[in-house]
Symmetry: C2
Subunit: 455 residues, 2 copies
């Protein structure tokens, strides 16, 4: 029998990792709920007709497809089989695929339930997604997304609250050195207009989105290949190099966008978001207006966000923006607009590990292990357990009669912070030996005192 293995790109999460992941997910969930977002879960499997064509050609190729149940070849055309065209055959033998993100299932849900939903609808969704990417460091085939979206309103209050939620989440996680980069699709369009590239928006946005990573020289090179003139490139970099505080930059762009409606809309939206933050009595710490922030996804139509944790070798850990046509792809007549963003749990996890930011007590374990010398003291220990648990103190007993050292080692390995050792003396006196496993200190206390201490 071969040794079992995991499919490449997938992971088990054992107790220690799970405890840290739960810390992250609970922090995010608590913030989402405090802001009035409600939970949604959709199935892991979606019809391929729902998924296909939503993520571009590359995305389609990364979809995991599920083989139809039963005799899936029965009705397949013989010619199709002989042609040996995997792509064509796949649609004949597979109707379902695994969720690739949480946005498309959300859009499908909204279209299917639009008559029951009361808008504006604030939903959050925390579930794994699957992509057939080539596995690599920090690139997995199964990973969690945590999305929050508001649909059915154009209010910029939603954008302001996204910033507030990001701040609350990072505060809850104990991450203090990070930037919330913000830009606006209108500003990007304004730039395109002002350099005479309004018909070449896509290559322009794709290129400047990489400025961070590849630098000015390579961005210029890339755009030259797309027939951008030297003059337009110079104007472009004049704009991108606008320096100063967020309000300085916004003011500088007023002149640039004198003739661009999109640009003006972008500036006014961003100013409104910043002004709303003030009404919340919140400051704009961490918020950074980044003129070059484009984010690949072309469906954003308003504000766009991206969050980076500083001083770690990890890209953005959160991103999102406003879109105008969530449900268009599903043929909904009304266009439902909204704004949303997503936390990348795996990246946040990696960053927190790298920065050593996890609290020491994330481990999910009981607080007390009851240890014993023999059958009698084990029996006595069971009644102690009942009282500890009734007082809300998670606790367990070593289930076999065994050497005390082995029992204490077990507590240490499992990260259980306290032990109570029970022998015949303890049964007689009712005074129990409570040991603090980390400090190595031990004291004799009654059970009531122990409960008071640990509560």
């Amino acid at each position: 029998m071969e040794k079992p293995t995991l499919p490449s790109g997938t992971r088990d999460f054992g107790p220690a990792v799970m405890a840290k992941r739960q810390f992250i997910l609970n922090t995010i969930r608590t913030v989402f709920q405090a802001f009035g977002f409600q939970p949604l879960e959709t199935p892991a499997m979606e019809n391929l007709s729902t998924l296909t064509g939503k993520y571009g050609e590359e995305g389609d190729q990364l979809l995991f497809k599920i083989l139809n149940s039963g005799d899936f070849l029965k009705d397949v055309d013989g010619q199709k089989l002989e042609a040996r065209n995997s792509k064509q055959l796949s649609f004949a033998i597979s109707e379902k695929g695994l969720r690739y993100d949480l946005t498309v299932p959300f859009a499908r849900y909204v279209v299917m339930n639009r008559h029951e939903i009361s808008f504006p609808f604030k939903r959050y969704q925390i579930q794994p997604v699957w992509r057939g990417d080539r596995p690599a460091k920090a690139r997995y085939r199964e990973f969690y997304q945590c999305d929050a979206d508001v649909v059915g309103t154009n209010s910029l209050i939603c954008e302001a609250e996204i910033i507030l939620m990001i701040k609350d989440v990072f505060k809850g996680l104990g991450i203090f050195d990070y930037s919330i980069k913000i830009n606006h699709r209108g500003i990007l369009s304004g730039i395109a207009e002002s350099i005479g590239a309004e018909r070449n928006e896509n290559p322009l946005f794709v290129a400047i989105d990489k400025l961070d990573k590849i630098g000015e020289g390579k961005v210029r090179e890339e755009l030259r290949l797309k027939n951008f003139s030297e003059e337009s490139l110079n104007s472009l970099f004049d704009i991108l190099k606008t320096q100063g505080s967020t309000s300085n930059k916004l003011d500088a762009l007023d002149t640039v966008f004198e003739k661009s409606e999109s640009g003006k809309k972008g500036l006014s939206d961003l100013r409104q978001v910043l002004s709303l933050l003030k009404s919340y009595d919140a400051n704009d710490d961490h918020v950074e207006f980044d003129i070059a922030l484009a984010r690949g996804l072309s469906y954003y139509t308003g504000c766009i966000f991206e969050v980076k944790i500083n001083n770690v070798g990890i890209g953005s850990v959160s991103g999102g923006g406003r879109y105008d046509n969530l449900t268009q792809a599903f043929g909904a007549k009304e266009n439902i607009s909204g704004v949303g963003f997503s936390f990348g749990v795996d990246r946040i996890y990696d960053a927190m590990e790298e920065l050593n930011l996890f609290p020491r007590d994330t481990q999910v374990s009981s607080r007390v292990l009851v240890c014993h010398f023999d059958e009698d003291s084990m029996r006595y220990g069971l009644s102690i357990l009942t009282k500890l648990r009734a007082a809300g103190i998670g606790s367990e007993i070593y289930p076999d009669v065994s050497k005390i050292k082995k029992q204490l080692d077990f507590a240490n390995k499992k990260g259980i912070p306290f032990t109570i050792v029970i022998g015949s003396d303890e049964i007689k006196s009712g005074q129990l030996a409570l040991k603090d496993m980390e400090r190595g200190e031990q004291e004799k206390l009654s059970l009531e005192q122990i409960i008071q201490k640990l509560k």
Copy 2:
């Protein structure tokens, strides 16, 4: 564009359903953790070599298989294609499948990590599983399992704690009319021996497991077809009809099992579990020794459990038992024994709906909606929001300037219990109108008073 649909047998869980599901899952998780169980998550996808052959032939057919990525036909033998044998071809074009239960992935995890795990290992796992069953009422293709297992000890303390956990979970859920049926594989073997059917255990167990559903006549009929003599059937039903309390029944079986080691072991284990419950100062309410409880799975070797909620048309909602060879199928040299059980969340959900047992306030929503008459009062509302949230009171604002009636309707539909309506008077006086949406009562209070009241 066609209307989007869900794959058959799968479901979306919208906010109202999610809130109730979270109530069930949180209750179970809290109890698991209080008893020292630690979380584990495994990937949705497992290698087919891990899954196949573990669930019997029928189970194998119900596995969802995932098409290999890329040009999956490239290396497929031409003859295999022409043979049009779906089953054979499936193994050539698919290496991975979706998790079918949580036990096999757990066994794989234990084998792969046995040198790092400190035994006894108590893990819980709450994740969806997928089965290609024909969808029907209360039978889904994607559903959650909640498993807890202890491996690496034979201590019957684990069995006693399973009973305690079941009781705590049901208490937490507010379910009081239910039975924890308990039996022992040794007792079943003892019965087989005492009626001379030790070589026919399987058909015997399969048949008596159905006694509940199909009655004595049909069980007799089924066993006659398997060549059980009339005499053995009469002995069988004499035993199965043993009446009285659990201890009466155990005592009655002492005589029947005088010559059966398995039977004696079964009786002694069950007595030990009941005696351990006493040491916990716990009673055996709800616990019911059911001689005919067999549970289909042949891998159980000790105590077996099954939980039924009374007065609902739903089968068992939880079950489990002790097994001796969790890791054998993966070629582990040491046999790792353990005991585990599983809660069926979907069935518990259906039962609680049927019995109307969900608390009224499960809905996940904010506690307050801030309503407003115009741009100014909306702005003022944002600072109110900040203070409410800082006090830990989940709250939100209606994000558009809109009619008050529409805003109040929105609070009602979303199940938000309180609203604060802000107008110019309120801004001037600082006295805010807090409305209890359910009672329809309204009072003028300062923000501090509101926070005190809602905290």
